[in-house]
Amino acid sequence: MILPRLVFESLLNRRSTIVLTLITIAFSVALLLGVEKVRQDTRYSFSNTVSGTDLIVGARSGNLPLLLYSVFHIGNASNNISWQSYQHIRKNKKVAWSIPISLGDSHRGFRVLGTNSDYFKFYRHGNKQQLDFEHGKPFAALFDVVIGADVAKKLNYTLGKKIILSHGVGKVSFSDHDDKPFAVVGILKKTGTPVDRTVHVSLQAIEAIHLDWQTGYKNPAHAVSAKQALKLELEPKTITAFMLGLTSRLSVFSLQRSINQYSKEPLLAVLPGATLQELWSLFGLAESALLIITVFVVLSGLLGMLTAILASLNERRRELAILRSVGARPWHILVMLCAEAGLLTAGGIFVGVALYYLIIIAAAPVVETRYGLTLTLTGLSINNVCMLLITQVAGILIGLIPGIRAYRMALNNGITIRL
């Protein structure tokens, strides 16, 4: 059949205008795939961060804020919780292990996390993976610090580097704890979680750097030097939150209830899995809206193609007449125009997919540093393939409109063109 070749040559002949239509469709396809990717990777990022933790406990605020600031370092705690409450709860026979954490300081835009050796022993991420060291080991001395992979990479830190911590969590800081320098003793392997962007110190270190900050600012009257601090007994008085692993997961609800009703202090205990579910149902509305907008963008791309083909139909009357004169039937004309639309859509999809992958490769590093979102390079999922197939079919169906028009023209005009 000469039809495929005819279709291809016909499009090639009008390539200067066709190319623009192709690019429109390519952009809309890339957008469709991109939106789906952001949706997938956001969920992946969140679910990858914490694993095997039964309860997260902090000051009484709300489920989502507690999960966000304690695990994802998004937002800030409204209040700290007392060391006594932590000790009392971790001694409960239902508790298998616990990790205390203290937040509120930063280092050159990266959050500082105060914790103890239990963090390196019990924290799990991804699929129950432990934290591994690329270089060095956990902190031992008072002014030791362990940094995440992204911190080391961005700031070019190696073992032994001396750093200063800053008060507050801004991108820059004007209040440094510069009388107490820290030394990097460990660098963690990349995890793809907020751990990579965290600077870890001991709870005692957090107490030490705040010895002269008890009045809310750096008070020279209360200055304690680093050397003096080493001699002090620095048991923490408060922490920001703690994570719990239980001996039996079936006791999670009763322990959660007893923590929530703890009479000595207003505490809140959340289940990470259930809270993530809540977070995602919030996203759900925004994601649906985004998807609908993207569908409309694809539709407008296809309508642009329809306009282009319809507009050119008038000047192709002679061409169609010639085809009719060499033996083409009206239905051949119909099929030819549908095939043109189909081929154009296919070309647009192909270029769109290539564009989508190019954008991911180009944008991934920027997105990761700015938003902490890891864009993974994966093959097209079943969902994606379905969307592309629907787009292709839509393209062919849209081709029916100029196709039927041309079919009627061919029937009415015959070989002579009535101008």
Binding site: Q40, R43, Y44, F46, S47, N48, S51, G52, D54, G126, N127, T247, S248, R249, L250, S251, V252, F253, S254, Q256, R257, L271, G273, A274, L276, Q277, E278, W280, S281, T378, S381, I382, N383
Partner: protein, 185 residues
């Protein structure tokens, strides 16, 4: 000869312990998870809390003692190793992040979700810790599911299972028929 005898005996023992994989599953209700003699009705009768007036502190004492027993009630051994279907709500515990979309591999099956804080949470014998054979898609908020699996009852904690009801989840489906509530008698 001796080796062959041992291997035959082992084969018999192993096949005897095989799980009922292809059998029909029992439709269970949350009441079935309570051991005989420990249902709320039976406990109320046992403790005879109605002998005292509503304001009487002795009634409060009896109610507290009754709640203690209710909370530590043993598991129903009759359900051990049975393939059952139980309808309830899912509280995700382990979320797998390797799929295109997050999936849930371990969850708690509970009789009600986010209930009022006026009453205590469900006791351990009204919860099932389910480990799915293959992870399921993240359930929508508040959706009820009928979960089918092999129930295992444990009296004490060990490395493989926890005290209470454990289930090896085989399949589940969304519970949609509103008129047919399987949890009422």
């Amino acid at each position: 000869m001796k080796n062959q005898f041992i291997s035959i005996v082992m084969l018999m023992v192993l096949t005897a312990c095989e799980e009922p994989v292809n059998s029909e599953s029992l439709q269970a209700t949350w009441e079935d998870l309570i051991q005989e003699g420990f249902t709320p009705k039976e406990l109320i009768l046992k403790y005879q809390i109605d002998t005292y007036e509503a304001d009487d502190p002795r009634r409060m004492q009896l109610i507290r003692a009754m709640e203690e027993e209710w909370n530590s009630a043993p598991v129903n051994e009759n359900l051990d190793n049975k393939k059952i279907t139980l309808t309830g709500f899912i509280v995700p515990l382990e979320i797998e992040s390797n799929a295109a979309y997050p999936t849930v591999s371990e969850f708690l099956l509970v009789p009600f979700l986010g209930a009022c804080i006026h009453v205590p949470p469900p006791p351990a014998n009204q919860l099932v810790y389910v480990k799915m054979e293959s992870p399921i898609a993240m359930p929508n908020d508040g959706e009820a599911f009928s979960v089918t699996g092999i129930m295992k009852t444990e009296s004490v904690n060990n490395e493989l299972a926890e005290a209470g009801y454990n289930m090896k989840g085989l399949s589940l489906e969304t519970f949609s028929n509103e008129s047919l509530n399987p949890n009422t008698e």
